[in-house]
Symmetry: C2
Subunit: 233 residues, 2 copies
DNA sequence: GCAAAAGTGTTTGGATTACACCCATGC
DNA sequence: GCATGGGTGTAATCCAAACACTTTTGC
């Protein structure tokens, strides 16, 4: 006689949410997009944007929805980070949260506070104040995951303008890896990464303008078919 | 006037579970411990051991409990994998699951089916049949995470006997990285990893017995304090 | 002695590092 | 011309791959 182990309605009393850490790059720094909450709990606290998951919604869908509601951006690749389920983490009940992160080009959209936030701001990852809930912890461990991704998958280019200089790429690399590197050596290091050089230069700089590059995703895909090739930054 | 966004009891209608993928190593293969379910849903299907999380229980606690109930092992480090929340994944309601994994020494315990399983078995990672729920998917993505951990943190030693031969270490490495490697070169590759050599040899082999080694975790900890040192397998 | 695996040394080519130097632009 | 960063070449060094060879055990 088969038995159902789950027959206690007491188990179906929890909620879950998705929190989205949105990373961007400007002023040589990696930043996260934070909102100032305009609701309880943690009213007026800075926080990672997040929302409860709808009953019929899958997790990646929820993450995309939150990103869209916040930035108007669609079609951005989302990456799952970790889940956090401390029973005390939410004052209103048992809510576990799944953290997702997105990498976006800061210039691609205009930030504006939505109805459920009274302010919104990019904050450099090393200048983040005390946040609502366990959000400091969530950001910290998600940033660790970001760094691993950046080193092993071609996602840096999601944070850079479509056309970027090699120096921008180097600055992003140096910030994420917390190192400094010789310019010539950096260029040798990335020579396995397929970049398209354009006949176009940086504008409005008071020194020799740098050449602009873009990531050659077509070439990357064909390279990836070779099992000996592995992206490494 | 502060408003609570969460005031709909309809949100607190989901449950969550923790699934534990327990990895071990024997016969030169990485294996996972699976149970044959003795309950609905998916009665008589092979599955990853898992359970609902108790209302007052944190996620890592739940993972440790499940490991203990299944193997009797305590004090094993658990690692969080990914979460899975497809609304259709559980036939009895909305259940999202957080996958955890543990690496254990297969010889350290005797497996025996518990009350909620009719059978239990180690299965090589590339010989796993169709499982209950979305468990094939869960195992696959957790195995990918395992491979990354193995390469970057000294967790291989959790899967090997306390004293092991260099060839065992190499076989585990080769299985996980799906490569073959020259013996001499492998030994050069691992010379940064702190190992203690013992005056003890393999027994009952019909060839020259190999020396036994153990991981020198004391030395590893002091090495880790040097920011230039990074474990790499 | 033979089979089988343990264990070590040498050579070579490619990648990483340190460092030096030249180039283009604005003011 | 000079300040500022863009861009490149060279030599020394380290590291990984290929391969050959010696050693120790059981039978």
């Amino acid at each position: 006689m088969p038995m159902y182990r789950i027959n206690f309605s007491e188990f179906f009393t929890s909620a879950f949410s998705v929190d989205c850490i949105i990373f961007g790059f400007s002023d040589s720094k990696i930043k996260a997009l934070l909102i100032k909450r305009a609701m309880e709990p943690f009213n007026h606290f800075w926080a990672v944007p997040g929302d409860l998951v709808y009953p019929k919604e899958d997790l990646p869908e929820a993450a995309e929805r939150i990103l869209y509601e916040l930035t108007g951006l669609k079609g951005i690749q989302m990456h799952q980070s970790q889940s956090f389920g401390n029973p005390e983490r939410h004052p209103q009940g048992r809510v576990i949260t799944v953290a997702y992160f997105a990498l976006i080009k800061i210039d691609d959209f205009k930030i504006e506070a939505s109805s459920w936030a009274e302010d919104i701001k990019w904050m450099a990852i090393d200048e983040i104040p005390a946040l609502a809930f366990d959000h400091n912890h969530i950001i910290k461990s998600t940033y660790e995951m970001l760094k691993i991704k950046l080193a092993n998958e071609p996602v840096v280019f999601d944070m850079l303008p479509k056309r970027f200089t090699l120096n921008q790429l180097q600055q992003l690399y140096e910030y994420a890896s917390a190192t400094e590197m010789d310019k010539a050596n950096f260029r040798k290091k990335i020579k396995n990464i397929p970049l398209k050089a354009h006949n176009e230069k940086q504008q409005n700089v008071k020194h020799r303008p740098a050449k602009l590059f873009s990531f050659d995703s077509k070439k990357y895909i064909s390279l990836s078919k070779d099992l000996n090739y592995r992206f490494k930054l």
